[in-house]
Each structure stands twice: as C-alpha cells, then as structure tokens.
Symmetry: C2
C-alpha cells in the first residue's frame, strides 16, 4: 500500500500522550496530587494584598506572584497544578495575563497544567476553545496540558477537544458526577432503564476514551468524580477502566483521602486527587507560618497520605 | 416594623431588570435580533487581516476593529450583541482585552451585551464567574448585561448567578435544548417518568425564573433552545411562560425565522433570535460588498423578517 486514507493518518495518536506523561510524572514523584490554584484577593498573604487592591492589574500581579510562589513550593510533591479560570477571569484581561505567566512557570517547574475551565460548546466554537487551551499558540506550547470539559451539549461538542488531544498530546477531564449537592439535580436523574444519567454519560464516553489510550494503558480522556461520593467513584472506575479519574472535594469540601482509594485500581496514575484551598492557604491555619512553607508542607503530607491509600 | 430580615432585603430585585431593559429595547427598535460576534481571522475582510497574522496582539486589534465596525452597522436593527468568548480566548489576554473594548463600545452604541460563555461551576468559583461578567468591576459597569450558563452542575451552581442578576439587574440564559445534533445525547434522554431530561430541567428552572420577573412581566432567567428544533420551542414556551427564549441556529445552522414563531407568544420581547455568521460575514456573499454595509443590510432584513413572524 502506497497511501493510507486520510482519516487513518488523522487518528494517529501524538506520542507521548497526556496519559503517558502523567503516568511518568506519577511514577517519578510517587504522587497523585493535583494542587488547585484558586487565588482570592481576600485570602492572600498580607505582603501580597497590600498594593493589589487598587486595580485589576494590581490584583493580577499579586495572583501571579502568589501562584508562582505556591508552584515552587509544591513542585516536588504534586504532579499537576489546576488553575481555576474563574478567579483569573474575574480580573479580565489582566487576570488572563497572570494566568499565562503562571502556566508558563508551572511548566518550567516540571508540573503538568490542568486548566479548570469547564468549557463546552459546539462546532467552530468548541474548536476555538480547544485551540485556546490544548493546541500550540504559534511558536509557543499549548497553554495547558489538559482541560476540564462540560458534556451537556453532547458528543459532537466533545469531538474538537478529542481531536486536539490526539494531535497535540493533551488531555480532557469530562464532568461526570460533580462534588456538589446540586449534582443530583441532573446527573443523578433516573433514566427509563433505571440507571442514573451519569452512568449513561460514562457509557457514551467509553468509545472516545479507547481512542486516546497511550503506551501507559491510560486514556487521555479522563473524568471528574467528586470525592464526596465514594460509591460513585467505584462505579465510574468500572465503567471507564482506562480513564484517569480526577477527584475534587478532598479537604475544604469534606472528603478524606480514604474515600478515594477505589479510584486507583487501574494503576498508580489512574486517579488524581485535587486539593486547593487546604494547600494554597495552609498558612492561615496558624500564626507566623510562611505561606510558601505551609503550602509545601501540606502538599508533602497529602502526597504521602494519598499514595498510601492508593495502595501502590 | 423597624427592621426587615436580611434575606428579604437580599431578595429585592434591582430595577430595571434585564428583562425590563430588553423589553424596552425591543419596543423601541421593533427588533428581536441578536447579532453574534464570532470573529475568525480567516473570515475577516482583507483590509483587517493584513497586519493581524503576526501576533495575538495583532489579531486581537483586528477583532476589535472588526467587531466595533459591525456594532456600528447593526446598532439600529439589533437589540443585543452576543460576543462568543471562545474566539477571544483563543488569543489569550490580548483577545480578552479586545473583548473588553468591544463590550464597552456596544454599550455606548445602545446595545445590550450577552456574553456567550456557557460558564458553570460551583460555590466560590461560580461566584467568581458571576462577578467576572454580571457585577460592577470597581467603578466600571458589569462587562455584560447577560451571560449564557451551563446547567449540568445543578441548581446550587446557578444560585450565584441568580443573586448577581437580582442585585445588579443582569440576566442569564440557561442552556436547555441546544441546536446541535449531539444535544440528543444527554438533553433528550428519557427519564423514568417518560419525559425528556430537558423538560425536567425546565421544571427545575420555574421557581428561580419567577424570582426574577420584573415590571415588564418577563423573567431575567432565560433559556437557550435551538431554532433547529421548532417543536421544542413550543414546549419550552409552555414550561417557562415568562422566560426569554434565546434561539440560535437561524441562518448558517439551517433554521428559518418561520421556525421560531411560537416562541413569541408571551410578548414581543419573550424571544430573541440570534444570527452570527450570516450577518457579520454577509460581505462574503458577493463581490465588492463593503463589510459594514453588508452586515447592516442583512441585520435590517432579518430584523424585519423576525418581527413579522413574531406576530407583533
């Protein structure tokens, strides 16, 4: 055969995949910890809050300094940082510039970047979102290594993100069963065959997840399951055996590392535990704590605890 | 009584509401047209494309010039512009700066601004998104008058947006039944009682919609229903009689103004028809067309056609 049909070439998977890169990082650092970067002006250390209040630019500069400090502190213990885009968008274009600085800094510190944007749209719009977060920007690398995605619009809305992952080695985490009480409103609705809605979504994700399985055996199509629902974690693990499960809700939202143990049965990198406020604002737990040292110490503690409950 | 309980004060509705402001604009302009601002580099007029290709800043400047030109051209015929955030986010902080300029310009031109961001998240994160788009930014007005919102995370995730609307006179449009074929994947799933999922969502929205009804009789909690599903439009109208229905999908996606007639039975401002590419890139339909004039002419034509089918 001289030529392959174009769609076969199209479906070739960039290597290493996001799943492969994550698996390597997990093994090297013996960590499945994701640190959520949720900067909030009123919770910043006083030394950063001072000048920040006068303008969006001032706040953005403080966010950039804070998050870069946190990144340096947690880099030995976390595999990934997860900037929450809402907190940057709150300060408009200045906030976005800070986000760009932070993502660059995280990459230089050897961390993967998961942009927590929960985007979802159709056609050309979804392609633009995929381009914004998962594709090279001219000569520069993609802003993020992975992106959270909202599935309400259906499979055709996921397609542009899957294609970007295939071509450029990124990943997505699709919201499956979220950590908040209101997740019951739609996600838990009982379908005519007796299953909850989110189970049906998991079934719809099985085929695309298989197309993104790399050398590590893990798919770059992951899912989000709230650590606050331990039973759902086990069910999701069975429905999507090769997907990386991102588990928010540990710490401030009330779940403990022990709640998430069953997510890890597909391998040490088959789940990630996110902690945000409990790490980045750890300095607020006591007097005279240095904010960087407190964040590093809490990340180290969580890393060890999660690794232990993961059973690897 | 000397004091009111705090939660009563909290629930007082800012006046005029988004629904009231929209109703006034619809009456004045005899228009229910929303023009979607979906700028794409490869579709821009050559005079703007030239210098733009070399940097995100160049593209952002071209987007700003293009969208401001479109705004001036369509302002007499449209009530609202709907910038699609993905196309701006594609160019990072430079793109967001252009978006800010465009939103300011639209306001000065007497247009309402609907930020098509399809955001959705929980707790403090949702509050930050509400702040980013629907609340005053220091001394400056909110970036937008209304925001599209994704409901997959449930009612508690909508609450911060509702509160921002109450306090600051903004609006939200919740994705109900979207215009793409994949909307069937989750939105049309049959529940155990035989109804489709999106009907259940409409029922969940009834109570919050009532809390946002202003003097015009319209709620500032609207919904998005694809013009590509005419039967769903009639059903949504019955389920949410006071909600403004935003109807995308006319033009490039194949629906015609006649398909949307039944959305308007709750009043002339009870539905909005969005057209994006068919208006802003109208100049591409012929040779030697001025891009501003072509957009204005197409907006005028659509305005008249929609007003006629609306029956008002």
């Amino acid at each position: 055969m001289d030529e392959q049909p174009e769609n076969v070439v199209e479906r070739e998977l960039a290597s290493p995949t996001f799943g492969d890169r994550l698996a390597e990082a997990v093994e090297q650092k013996r960590s499945q910890l994701v640190v959520g970067l949720d900067p909030r002006l009123e919770l910043l250390p006083l030394e950063l809050r001072g000048e920040a209040q006068h303008s969006p630019e001032g706040v953005a500069e403080a966010f950039s300094r804070f998050c870069r400090g946190i990144i340096d502190a947690v880099a030995p213990y976390a595999v990934c940082v997860k900037p929450q885009l809402a907190f940057f968008e709150l300060y408009g274009s200045a906030g976005l510039r800070a986000l760009e600085e932070i993502c660059d800094h995280a990459r230089e510190a050897g961390l993967l970047v998961l942009a927590d944007a929960k985007r979802g749209d159709i056609g050309a719009t979804a392609r633009a979102y995929a381009g914004a977060y998962l594709e090279p920007r001219g000569a520069r690398p993609p802003l993020a290594d992975a992106l959270t995605v909202n599935p309400y619009l259906g499979r055709d809305a996921l397609e542009p993100f899957l294609l970007a992952c295939q071509r450029h080695g990124g990943g997505i985490f699709v919201l499956l069963k979220t950590s908040n009480p209101g997740s019951a409103d739609l996600q838990d609705l009982t379908l005519s065959d007796g299953r909850p809605l989110w189970h049906q979504l998991a079934l719809l994700l099985q085929e695309p997840a298989e197309t993104l399985v790399g050398a590590s055996g893990l798919s770059s199509l992951g899912v989000v399951v709230g650590a606050t629902y331990p039973r759902a974690i086990g069910e999701a693990r069975k429905l999507l055996p090769r997907s990386i499960i991102l588990l928010p809700g540990v710490g401030a939202q009330g779940a403990s590392p022990a709640d998430v143990a069953r997510a890890f049965t597909s391998g040490p990198a088959s789940a990630l535990v996110n902690a945000s406020r409990s790490v980045i604002f750890a300095y607020r737990a006591g007097e005279d704590l240095d904010w960087r040292e407190a964040a590093g110490a809490e990340a180290a503690r969580l890393r060890d605890e999660i690794w232990r409950v993961s059973g690897w």
